[in-house]
């Protein structure tokens, strides 16, 4: 039973009951969660930049285009089934709004991760991205519950969605 940390450019995966996958203080980076809820397996990547093109000598896992296939591989290796994967995206903020070069990294990261997932035909089930606040994401592989905490607030469950308004089915009266 332990916290597995995904720091900048790192990823982790687990199917062990009691484990938690954690990425602390995501700013412009994206925390990408892949879940197979029926198998109780999950993975989390801490993605720093959109594309690895032209950066062969660097840690490939910090780039969206390389991290996504590797995360799929690691979650699959723990018993996850790719067709069942649900993706959740957290992060991609602009911490220094109006301060030039850091401005667009978060937005471009989110776009690159979405594109890499689309290429793998994995659907995004929940997303908390953009804005100007840092975020911490926690994943419980056993339950598939994903929580997000923003600076100065409490953990909130992002997935599965807690329905705030109960859907009341309106039955049409048949004359």
């Amino acid at each position: 039973m332990s916290d597995l940390m995904a720091r900048m450019g790192e990823l982790c995966a687990s199917g062990t009951v009691g484990d938690q996958l954690v990425a602390l203080g995501l700013g412009s980076c994206i925390g990408l969660v892949l879940l197979d809820r029926r198998k109780g397996v999950a993975g989390l990547a801490h993605i720093v930049l959109p594309a690895s093109e032209g950066h062969k000598e660097l840690n490939p896992l910090k780039f969206a285009d390389k991290a996504v296939p590797e995360l799929i591989r690691q979650v699959t290796a723990r018993g996850g089934r790719k067709p069942m994967f649900e993706a959740i995206l957290v992060g991609g903020a602009s911490m220094f709004a109006g301060a030039g070069s850091t401005l667009e990294v978060g937005v471009r990261n989110a776009a690159a991760v979405r594109e890499a997932l689309a290429k793998e035909r994995i659907r995004i089930h929940a997303e908390d991205t953009g804005g100007t606040k840092g975020r911490t994401v926690r994943v419980d592989p056993a339950t598939g519950i994903v929580t997000v905490r923003k600076a100065g607030s409490k953990d909130e469950q992002l997935y599965p969605a807690l329905s705030k308004t109960s859907h009341t089915r309106v039955l049409q009266e048949v004359a």
């Binding site: 911490m95 220094f96 978060g106 975020r135 911490t136 600076a151």
Partner: protein, 196 residues
């Protein structure tokens, strides 16, 4: 290209940081009307994820004042202080702690202190630098630092941190002062002092 430096180079960078921080502390001292102590600067060359851990818990609330640096030493000057210490500084400036002016007052402190630091470096090495206007943000330490490092991550997995602490005497209030050069920035510094 990976960022790696020998002991002599690291010593030289530490010494540059010391002089820069010395000048910065004089500027801060004049603004606040208090004596400022200076901790011996550290120089780290670290994998980026370790750089965040080095500075503190990633989820800790922190106030960051950031100045971009353009010119021959492209990089970022980042000042980090706890929100409590940010309030103390505002009070020392005569502002109510919850004042709407607090972020711009802190930005101005950052501007003066950061510019003094950069001017000292420029004076010693003959490099031309141009700071960009300050941005002040209070958020998670990890989120602030990683957003600055992310831009650098394009060219390296490691980062150089020149880390000094300015301590306001008798107030139990300190500011961590960081210079994070872009890739190549430190090489330029070393070249100018004949140690490249």
């Amino acid at each position: 290209m990976s960022a790696s430096y020998n002991e002599v180079q690291l010593d030289a960078l530490r010494e540059l940081a010391n002089i820069g921080a010395g000048t910065a502390s004089t500027a801060l001292s004049e603004m606040l009307g208090r004596s400022i102590d200076l901790a011996v600067p550290d120089v780290f060359v670290l994998p980026m994820a370790d750089a965040i851990d080095q500075l503190g818990p990633a989820e800790q609330d922190i106030t960051g004042i950031m100045l971009g640096v353009e010119g021959e030493l492209p990089g970022t000057v980042l000042m980090l202080l706890t929100p409590e210490n940010a309030e103390k500084i505002c009070v020392m400036l005569g502002l109510p702690p919850d004042s709407e002016l607090a972020p711009s007052a802190l930005g101005e402190i950052g501007n003066v202190v950061g510019t003094s630091y950069l001017n000292a470096l420029a004076g010693m090495t003959g490099i031309a630098v141009e700071p960009t206007p300050p941005t002040t943000v209070t958020d998670m330490l990890g989120a602030i630092v990683e957003s600055i490092l992310a831009v650098r991550a394009m060219s390296s997995d490691r980062t150089l941190l020149l880390d000094s602490s300015l301590i306001v005497e008798g107030e139990d209030c300190s500011i961590v002062f960081l210079l994070v050069p872009d890739h190549g920035g430190a090489e330029e510094l070393l070249e100018r002092i004949g140690l490249a």
